[in-house]
Structure formats: structure tokens, C-alpha cells
């Protein structure tokens, strides 16, 4: 199958997000799509698969013009789209999720036997083993992502679109996915692969298209380009160091956690401390309990026992508000569920944890809030139409930056970041690191949970590695390398 997008344009109201885009994708090739946050990648794919209509332009499939009315129609035609944000039903079982909207019937009733058979076949092809009758809400994010991928195997797959599929996968799951992609390619499936991870692009793709500001900047065979060239085309300028140098010294211990014990058996005996101006990374495999630790520290989940100290004094945190009052900020890893109110504006989202700062004489001062948020939008280069834009209409990466702005906005004394750069483009990542350095420079201790090893190695002063709910070890940033971390993370398994 050959897909040709010709002169596609799209405007949301006055916001012209796609301008005259042309792109060709062939079967049997992996076509990487790159571009800054908000460049229009997801929107383009949504148009191709019939989720939105285009404002202009045409789509040709094998030379014939075609417009899909809805995603299902595209899928029946062989074009599957694994969205950036997962579209699943946590309360339904794995098999129900797999077959929703495409159930196999026999005499009008569900043919569970056949569906089970096909599910197993799809999982086999993916090389995963997931039980079929558990609710998927109880599975890890990685497993859920694998199910999304398995879904596309159930149809007559000809073109597969993946929008940042690895952002929630473990190393092992990621390499499994890459094997699958190679296999699909051999089967003649064409793949459109959207990612902000350079190494993946070079490992996987045959062709790469770079988008910027809703336009195609260039399309090239991957082998004819390199990281620096791609970055320059995406960002419009040269980036030399991806992990800006942090040159502020580390001070005294300011924040301490000792003997923290999970109430639900997710982690045990967690003790650590952070010094002022220090960036402490938590590394480990997914599911090792890092997020759970931070949730307990921040008062979202109640720990069984443990002591938290700020500046040497024990503090009680029973709910997030207590933590916020002590100046602790926590960027959660799941922006859609826990980070944002999608229907609200950027201003409303950003000022939520710092509402009290804008109250003057009992009343909330909206003007002040707008100025404040405008400033943060600039600082974090959030691509938007202004402080009043609805967050749900931002691109994924820009939504992530709004969550960050929210916590930077409380002027934190301690900042906890869980996967802070998930879905963020290279240029913006660098800005986030700079911001972290700047805060550290002011003496703010920063705890960063990250599954991105280069990032962990690139920005942290010290690294704690977790394994199955316990701290497996600690390495200074300057002594660390991938092997050492992985060894602790797996305890040599």
C-alpha cells in the first residue's frame, strides 16, 4: 500500500497548525516523523485516519483519492493508528479491549473461543504473555501499550502508525517492539513512526521526515542524515550539548526520607536524602516502585511508616496540600489523569497549586495570574495561542510542559519530577534541563525519576537505583554509566 498526502492543511479556528503538507509512505518501509512539540505530527495522523477532516489537501491511497469518515473506516482499510494517549477501558478485560468495535460473532453472539485464539496469536507474534481475562487497569502501562499494539495485529494491517509508542515501555518491551517492527516490515507493512528519541529513529527507520511549524522541512533516507542535522532542522538552530552543564555546587542535606514503608507492599525501607542544589535521580526498571515512593512522600498514598524531614525537622504529610505547604512540588508521570484538567485553560491549570499566591485581600487576582502564566509560557516555550488556551487542545509535549510549569510556579523548595521529559522534543528537553539547573542553582533540591538512561546520566549529581521496591544502590553521577545502573537495576539477573 502506498499513501500519499498532498498539500494537507488544517486550522483549528484561527490557529493554522498544518500548512501544505505532502508526504509519501510506502509499504515495507519505516517512515519516521519528527518535529518539535506542536509541530503537527499527531494532527496529521489524525487527519489521515479520519478523526478530523482536513481544511485542505487530498489523500491518495494506491493512487486513488480517499477520505476516511472515521478511524474505524481507516482501520478496515488496513490503516491502524496507535495513539499517543492510550485509548482503552481500564475496567474491561484484556480481551474485551482487544476486540472492542471488532468483535467476532457467531450466530449473533460473541465467539469467545475464536477471539481467545486470535488474541493468543497476536500476543505470540508480539512475544508477550498477558492473561486475557484480567481488567487492563490492573496491568502496567507497558503491558497496556503492548495490548494497543496487539490490537492492530487483529485487522488486515497494511499501514501501522505509532505515535511515541516507547514512552512508557521498559527496555525489554522496547526491544521486543523493535523486533516486531522488523518483522512487520518484512511482511510488507508500512510503518509511520513518531518519536522524540533519536537513537530509535536511527535504529529503525528507512526514511525520515522532519516537520516544523506545521510544514515539512525535509524528507530524507535515514542513512543520509545524522542526529545533528535532524535536530537542526527540527529546532531551526544548532544544539551542541543535549545535557547542559550544571555548574552550581551541592550544599547541605535539606530533604530526608527514612525507613519509608509502603502500606500496599509496593516498596520497603526506603531511606534517602537530597542536598540543596542537588539533582538526585531515581533509576530502575519500570515497576520497581519509584513512582510509588514519590507518591507516598507527597501524600497521595498513605505509607505504613517512615519519617520525612525538611531542614532537619520532621514534617507530617498526610495529603498533597501538606506537601505543597512545605514547598514540595511533584510532577506526576501521568499527565492526562493526574496532571491536568484537560477542559481548563493553561492559566487555570498552572495556577491551581499556587492559587493562594494570587489571592489579594481574599480575592483571586486574575490579571496577576495571567501575567505570571504568560511568563512561564515563554520560559518553557509552551506552544500555544496564549494563557487562555484550553490545555486539551495542546500537543502532547506542550501538555507535559504545562504540568512542569504548574510545579515550577509554586516556587518549590523541593521539586520531585516523575518522568519530566516524557514526550518532549529535544530542544525543549534541553530547556527543561536548564530550568532544573537554574532551580538547583537557587538551592532547590531536585528528585528526578526517569526511565531515560542518557537523561539520568546526563543531568544528575547522584543516582539511586531501585529494584523490586528496594533501594539497590547508589552511584555518583560522575562515576555512573549505563552498565553500572543496569546491573543494580536487575541485581545481576
Amino acid at each position: 500500500m502506498k499513501i500519499e498526502l498532498k498539500n494537507i492543511s488544517k486550522a483549528f479556528g484561527v490557529n493554522q497548525v498544518l500548512k501544505d503538507i505532502s508526504l509519501t509512505v510506502n509499504s515495507g518501509e519505516v517512515h519516521a516523523l519528527m518535529g518539535e512539540n506542536g509541530a503537527g505530527k499527531s494532527t496529521l495522523m489524525n487527519i489521515l485516519t479520519g478523526l478530523f477532516p482536513a481544511s485542505g489537501g487530498k489523500i491518495f491511497i494506491d493512487g486513488e483519492e480517499r477520505t476516511f469518515q472515521n478511524p474505524r473506516e481507516a482501520e478496515l482499510f488496513g490503516i491502524s493508528f496507535i495513539h499517543q494517549e492510550m485509548n482503552s477501558w481500564p475496567e474491561l478485560t484484556v480481551m474485551e479491549n482487544l476486540f472492542l468495535g471488532r468483535e467476532i460473532k457467531k450466530n449473533g453472539l460473541l465467539n469467545n473461543k475464536e477471539m481467545r485464539k486470535q488474541s493468543r496469536a497476536a500476543f505470540n507474534e508480539l512475544g508477550v504473555n498477558i492473561p486475557l481475562n484480567v481488567e487492563i487497569g490492573t496491568l502496567s502501562v507497558g503491558q497496556q501499550q503492548m495490548i494497543e499494539i496487539a490490537k492492530s495485529f487483529l485487522s488486515n494491517l497494511q499501514i501501522l502508525i505509532m505515535d511515541e509508542p516507547t514512552s512508557a515501555l521498559t527496555e525489554r518491551e522496547t526491544s521486543k517492539l523493535f523486533e516486531v517492527i522488523q518483522h512487520l516490515k518484512k511482511r510488507g507493512v508500512g510503518i509511520i513512526y513518531i518519536s522524540h528519541r533519536m537513537e530509535e529513529i536511527f535504529k529503525l527507520s528507512d526514511v525520515v521526515t522532519v516537520m516544523r511549524d506545521g510544514k515539512v522541512i525535509d524528507t530524507k533516507p535515514t542513512k543520509d542524515t545524522n542526529v545533528n542535522e535532524l535536530v537542526k532542522k527540527m529546532v531551526g538552530r544548532e544544539i551542541t550539548d543535549y545535557y547542559p552543564h550544571k555548574n552550581t555546587p551541592v550544599g547541605d542535606v535539606t530533604f530526608e526520607v527514612s525507613h519509608l514503608e509502603s502500606a500496599t507492599n509496593k516498596f520497603h525501607d526506603i531511606s534517602f536524602s537530597v542536598k540543596s542544589g542537588e539533582i538526585l535521580a531515581f533509576s530502575g526498571l519500570m515497576g520497581s516502585g519509584r513512582t510509588e515512593v514519590m507518591r507516598a512522600v507527597f501524600g497521595i498514598d498513605k505509607p505504613k511508616s517512615g519519617v520525612i524531614k525538611l531542614h532537619g525537622k520532621p514534617i507530617r504529610i498526610r495529603k498533597p496540600l501538606d506537601a505543597i505547604r512545605h514547598g514540595i512540588g511533584f510532577l506526576t508521570e501521568n499527565r492526562k489523569d493526574e496532571g491536568l484538567i484537560l477542559d481548563f485553560s493553561i492559566r487555570e491549570n498552572v495556577t491551581l497549586p499556587s492559587t493562594r499566591n494570587f489571592v489579594k485581600n481574599l480575592f483571586f487576582n486574575t490579571k496577576m495570574a495571567m501575567l505570571f502564566v504568560r511568563d512561564l509560557i515563554q520560559r518553557l516555550t509552551i506552544r500555544s495561542t496564549g494563557t487562555e488556551q484550553i490545555v486539551g487542545n495542546l500537543s502532547g509535549g506542550n501538555q507535559q510542559k504545562v504540568v512542569l510549569a504548574k510545579w515550577v510556579g509554586i516556587s518549590p523548595k523541593v521539586l520531585i519530577l516523575d518522568e519530566p521529559t516524557r514526550g518532549v522534543d529535544v530542544g525543549s528537553k534541553r530547556e527543561i534541563y536548564e530550568l532544573m539547573n537554574e532551580l538547583a542553582g537557587k538551592g532547590v533540591p531536585i528528585i528526578m525519576v526517569s526511565s531515560d538512561l542518557p537523561e539520568v546520566l546526563g543531568v544528575s549529581d547522584r543516582i539511586i537505583v531501585m529494584h523490586e521496591g528496594r533501594i539497590a544502590g547508589e552511584i555518583l553521577g560522575k562515576d555512573a554509566n549505563q552498565e553500572k545502573i543496569m546491573q543494580l537495576a536487575t541485581l545481576g539477573e
Binding site: L51, N70, P71, R72, E73, E75, H83, N87, S88, W89, P90, E91, L92, E96, F99, L100, G101, R102, E103, K105, G108, L109, L110, A263, T264
Partner: protein
């Protein structure tokens, strides 16, 4: 033992079942005449009207919707078909018409909700007023009794089959049919999908508008059947029939463990929920609780039953 409880747990919420059992034991202790065959048969009969409506309501609530117009649909479809009977339409045809009218009124709700993108609460609140008003206009406020005692109609609400009230058997048939529809067909899955995540449902190709029209149609249809049973039992169609029934049906569904947010719940819970409400109504009478206190007790039982369910779910999440 373990497997029985496992089976039951898969079939319905054990808490709800336990609540029902506790209630029945308490009432029996206070007045043993509760546990006579005769009274239990009455109980089954009394549960049917709410049962039918609550089954339809389960579909509606599973999609995250609500149907406040069920009682008014019951009245209007009964009145119109009673009028047809009075005008000489053969009973079987009139019964069929009643069901068709109920389904049609439900479809009107569904149409506004799906294609008008309006909140189910407000649409069905408005149609409740409209349908009830039309019932009054049509009946001129009077009960309709002419020609209402033919055997065919009488049997629907008053007949017995193998010593069991026929409407209860009808209710079990409806239950099985809707159970299969909800749990064993693609349509059923799309009902859950819509309630769980409408956007995802759209992307997966669920035809949300059609599904919505269908579930409100089912709800209307079930209300009409409940109307038939009542009309038959009373040998008359009254303009005030079904007034306030929406609340009992919703209570039955929620007591049965279905979430008002949609996406979560089971048909089997609803039948237990309806039984709890039936037992309460019947039992409080039998033990002679004064009428003013009856409402208080009913409200309290609802709170306690739902609270226990919430606590149990929380506990099971943690373990």
C-alpha cells in the same frame, strides 16, 4: 464452597446478595409471616414492575446516562394502548402497540441525547414532563377501564404459570434476554465501551449515536412492559401510573453495584437491587413500621448497603 462463592462473585456482587439475605432474616425474625410461600409469591409479583424498568435503566446507566422519563413512558404507552383497546383494537395487537409506543418514546429520548448532544438528565427530565402531560391530555385525567378485562391482557399481570406469577416469569425472560444482549453480544460490549470512555469508543468504531438511541429505546420498551403488567394488574390505565418509578429503578441499579459514572456494572446486580427494594417495601409493611418511618428506614438501608459496598470494594482493591 470456595467455588460457589467464586461463581456467585462473578455472577453478582456478594455484598448486595448479603444485604438482601440480612434484610430477609431480620424481617422474618420480626414477623415470621414474611417467610410464607404466599407472601414470597406476592413479593415476586411486586418486584416485577420495578424489575423491568431497572433492567432497561441498567443499560442506560452503564453508558453513563440516566432516564428520568421511565415512569411517564409507562403511563403514556399504557394510556394510549388502553385507549386503542377501548376503541376496539384486538388485545394482542394493542399489547404489541403498547410496547412499540414505549420503544418509540424511548427512541425520542435517545435521539435528542445522541444527535442533539444533550445531557440525558435534562432531556429525560423534560420528556418526563412532556409524556406525563400528554398522558393527562389524552386521558383527560381519568383512568381508562373500558375493555381492560380481556383474558389476554389479564394474564400478563395476573396469570400464574406452574404456580409462579406470570409477570415474574416474563421478567425472568426479559432478564435472560437482556443479560445475553449485554454480556454476550458485541452490542453489549459497546454499551460498556461508551460508558467507560466515549472518545476511545468512537476511535474503536463504536457507533455511539446508534448505541445511545438503542439503549434509550430498550429503556422505553421495558417501561412499556412494566406498564402492561401494571395495567393488567389494575385492569385500568391510570394517568398517574409510574409516577416516581425512575428513582426506584435507579436505586435498584445502584444497589446492584452498577456505577452511575458508567462503564461498570452487571445485570445480575440489578435484579438483586430490585429484590432489596421489593423486600423493603413488603417487609416494612409486614412488620408494621409506621408509614412516616418507612421512608426513613428505606433511605437508611440504601445508604448502608451502598456504603458497605464501597468499603468492600476499597478493601478488595488493597488486598
Amino acid at each position: 464452597m470456595k467455588t460457589v462463592s467464586n461463581f456467585l462473585n462473578r455472577f453478582t456482587s456478594l455484598t448486595t446478595l448479603a444485604a438482601l439475605a440480612v434484610l430477609m432474616v431480620l424481617i422474618t425474625v420480626m414477623n415470621p409471616s414474611f417467610l410464607t410461600t404466599n407472601n414470597l409469591l406476592n413479593l415476586l409479583l411486586q418486584v416485577t414492575a420495578n424489575g423491568f424498568i431497572a433492567f432497561g435503566m441498567t443499560f442506560v446507566i452503564l453508558t453513563g446516562g440516566i432516564d428520568l422519563s421511565v415512569g411517564a413512558i409507562l403511563a403514556l404507552s399504557s394510556a394510549l394502548s388502553a385507549g386503542m383497546i377501548g376503541a376496539g383494537m384486538p388485545l394482542p395487537l394493542a399489547v404489541l402497540m403498547c410496547v412499540v409506543i414505549g420503544a418509540g418514546l424511548g427512541a425520542i429520548n435517545g435521539f435528542f441525547i445522541a444527535y442533539g448532544k444533550m445531557a440525558p438528565f435534562i432531556v429525560t427530565l423534560a420528556t418526563q414532563m412532556i409524556f406525563r402531560g400528554l398522558t393527562l391530555v389524552f386521558t383527560n385525567g381519568n383512568p381508562i377501564t373500558k375493555g381492560m378485562d380481556g383474558f389476554f391482557l389479564a394474564y400478563i399481570g395476573q396469570g400464574y404459570l406452574f404456580g409462579i406469577p406470570f409477570p415474574f416469569i416474563l421478567m425472568i425472560i426479559a432478564f435472560v434476554a437482556l443479560y445475553v444482549l449485554l454480556h454476550k453480544t458485541a452490542f453489549g460490549k459497546s454499551v460498556y465501551a461508551l460508558g467507560g470512555n466515549e472518545k476511545a469508543a468512537y476511535i474503536a468504531g463504536v457507533q455511539s449515536n446508534r448505541v445511545k438511541v438503542a439503549i434509550y429505546t430498550i429503556s422505553g420498551l421495558m417501561s412499556a412492559i412494566a406498564g402492561l403488567v401494571i395495567t393488567s394488574r389494575l385492569s385500568s390505565a391510570t394517568p398517574q401510573a409510574g409516577n416516581g418509578y425512575e428513582m426506584f429503578a435507579i436505586a435498584a441499579v445502584v444497589l446492584g453495584g452498577t456505577s452511575l459514572m458508567g462503564g461498570k456494572g452487571r445485570m445480575s446486580g440489578t435484579i438483586i437491587g430490585a429484590l432489596i427494594i421489593g423486600v423493603l417495601n413488603n417487609g416494612l409493611n409486614i412488620i408494621g413500621v409506621s408509614t412516616f418511618w418507612q421512608q426513613v428506614v428505606e433511605g437508611a438501608v440504601i445508604i448502608v448497603a451502598v456504603l458497605v459496598d464501597v468499603i468492600r470494594n476499597k478493601r478488595s482493591l488493597q488486598s
